[in-house]
Symmetry: C2
Subunit: 106 residues, 2 copies
């Protein structure tokens, strides 16, 4: 993973509304959630939600799939794993936390 991409993903998650949005999608599980359903849970205008969603999709943290008129959104676990892996690598250049996190993402 390149530093620029990691930074873009971190920035995407570094907004309370988007982090909440991502959380909602994660908790929705494999079934995902329609944009409209997410909007109901977040209670923000659709245009605002669309902007935030686009950011998460563009950075590879969320995927979308059409089902009739609704758009199903899903958290992209491999994308998040790659990001966590990058952070762990950066963090664990030192031994302090290497034993703990190193195993996980090997």
């Amino acid at each position: 993973m390149k530093l620029e991409k990691a930074a873009a993903q971190l920035e995407a998650l570094g907004n309370p509304t988007r982090l909440q949005l991502y959380r909602i999608l994660v908790r929705a599980g494999d079934g995902g959630l329609a944009v409209g359903s997410v909007q109901g849970k977040l209670d923000i205008p659709s245009s605002t939600l669309s902007h935030h969603l686009k950011r998460l999709v563009d950075t590879g943290l969320v995927t979308q799939e059409r089902q009739a008129t609704t758009l199903i959104c899903r958290a992209n676990y491999p994308g998040m794993n790659a990001l966590i892996g990058y952070l762990a690598d950066e963090c664990c250049a030192d031994a302090t936390c290497a034993p703990a996190v190193g195993k996980a993402l090997a």
Copy 2:
């Protein structure tokens, strides 16, 4: 960890310059690095560096300690571990990646 704090830390890391800065501190290890030394490696004005550093310190990702006239900066591993733990928890509400990451931060 609260969502707001996680978002603040993610946003702090979500800037290429700051992520690079954090990387440098991680690679410097326990000894840390003086602000001036970091500046030499990043080649940015001291005032700009100071702002970025402050952001990392304020969000709990970096610590500072005075040694004579120089300020030693260190990556705060527990802070990063807490953040990774939060991300892993969010990510692993689903089973897809729970087995792998769950063990690491238990």
